[in-house]
Symmetry: C2
């Protein structure tokens, strides 16, 4: 197994990325890694951790893509960036199985769509993050930004790809699939949603649980929600934004009075657990589904443990034969 | 001023509605109300509160529309419901200025669109709720469900209507308008968003502050966000759902250990304030903008104070001459 690690672009890069890679090769004896980034800095970190070069390859690519770069321009012009170099290797090296990056999401999605081939039968790759639900599990969102406009057939494919992913990598049996909509009844929403509802109801390979309103995302009643990339992006970002702002407000309120600070002293452990619960790093990275290779996008603020988690996730995705299973499921579910 | 109060459909109806109406006529000497609902029950509540019939008219309409009813069918077939009767009066009685309801949102939006005329120049009425932001203010969302699909020109009109509303009823000077999008740069999103960005940038009568990502909704950096009704609905419901579920989790966690309960004892006031902060009733009802009459939709769980707030809101909307100002602003902003 060969996994490429994009070592630039995250808040704690390159340290977290290189150290995560070290943890991964120590954990998986059949794993080799390709590290793209500033060669000298990478070597420095490897030395500091007493890590030899066995099963490690470094590809010098010192440029970095930031959130400021326009994704499509970054793909075309930042060829010496760690991300675009990583994508190039993934595309050209048949033995490269996967890529893990915590760099700019937009550029990663754009370069994947432009440079990496699709799984047979897949119309459009899909970007799928996971968020924690209130019952201790996770819920996947397909699509959350790669495809701002979609067709009903694409939504069906998203349901198939997401279901296979959750079954094979997260061991969720018969994932309950919800269609993001503005009401629960079958005739709700626009023409697209009504057509998708019909297709999803008729599909054999998925466990369709009906329309899902946005307020139910965290309820634990759905394992996967399918949606166009525009509203999926709105959904993920508003959940994230609301949670972060409420926690911030809670903290400010606690610090506003001595009495509250005193009370909070007895609840330190609880608040720490709440924070961990909301920490997206604990739930693995977002993935691109429906492409020939495996790509995992970690959170920008990933530390080495989070990077290790993303590498583990990519490792499991490849090992599970997800792409072959997805190709078969897509074929079985294509409407005539 | 004559305001119709739909007295059925809310969790605390008819008591909260009738009592809210009583508070309103005692507060505003120039206000008369029409109460639609079960006549006997309404009279009972009026008697209990020692309220005479001066400035109060009752229209017997005992049927109620629930969330289970399909909106368009309810409009056509539930003619004896308090809501549809109220809409009929609003449409036919020239002296009726406004309607306040806390019944089923879908039916209210559908009946408004089907039965009430539009302000001159307005393509489509828009449903606009307000949510609290982190700086102690509010942010309006136009549209949040009346129009699942929109054009760029409609988004411009939403911006104009929402701005006039916030200026005239909430006294927000030059409301900062954000376009809900999946990134902040001008070229982000689909064709619709790019076209809308251009129209909004060029419009003279509004204060366009650029694209807004969903995670910024509560930041206080925007007073109004314009969007198609589908993603607006997702936005509002996911903010609401996330906040409610996190507060619920917090409460469960506190009750899980004696130590936490002890700590929370010192923070009772703070938690009560957090809860009030998240209580949508404190921020007034959602409104339909761009229609000839004024319609305010209160939260389903409204108590009498919340009903009074919605009546006050309708009163201010009518008094401010919002519709005339909106008509003028729409005319000034129509692209040639």
């Amino acid at each position: 197994m060969k996994i490429i690690i994009d070592c630039l672009g995250g808040d704690n890069s390159p340290d977290a990325n290189v150290e995560g890679a070290i943890l991964a090769i120590r954990k998986h004896q059949d794993l080799s890694v390709v590290l793209t980034g500033d060669e000298n800095k990478i070597k420095e970190i490897l030395n500091k951790r007493n890590q030899g070069m066995d099963r490690i390859e470094i590809v010098h690519a010192p440029d970095v893509i930031t959130g400021e770069d326009k994704p499509t321009e970054a793909v075309r012009f930042k060829k010496d960036s760690s991300m675009i170099r990583a994508i190039k290797i993934l595309r050209e090296d048949d033995s490269a199985d996967a890529l893990v990056s915590n760099g700019a999401t937009g550029a990663l999605v754009a370069s994947t769509v432009l440079r990496i081939g699709r799984v047979e039968g897949v119309r459009r790759p899909v970007f799928c993050p996971l968020v924690p639900n209130m019952k201790g599990g996770v819920v996947g969102i397909c699509d959350s930004g790669a495809n701002p406009t979609v067709t009903a057939e694409m939504l069906l494919q998203f349901a198939v790809m997401g279901s296979k992913y959750l079954e094979n990598v997260y061991k969720i049996k018969n994932p309950r699939v919800g269609l993001l909509n503005i009401g629960t009844e079958s005739e709700k929403g626009d023409d697209l949603r009504r057509e998708a509802y019909k297709l999803l109801s008729e599909a054999k390979g998925i466990n369709f649980a009906g329309n899902m309103e946005a307020r139910e995302l965290l309820s634990g009643d759905f394992d996967l929600v399918v949606c166009d990339g525009f509203s999926g992006n709105v959904l993920v970002k508003s959940v994230e934004g609301t949670a972060l702002m409420l926690l911030k407000k809670l903290k400010e309120d606690i610090y506003s009075k001595k009495k509250y600070k005193f009370g909070a002293f007895f609840m330190r452990k609880m608040f720490a657990e709440e924070k961990e619960f909301m920490n997206y790093q604990n739930y693995g990275g977002s993935v691109m589904l429906g492409i020939e290779k495996t790509i995992v996008k970690g959170h920008g603020s990933s530390d080495r443990k989070a990077v290790l988690k993303c590498i583990d996730q990519a490792y499991r995705m490849v090992k599970s034969g997800l792409n072959e299973k997805t190709a078969k499921a897509i074929k079985d579910n294509m409407p005539e």
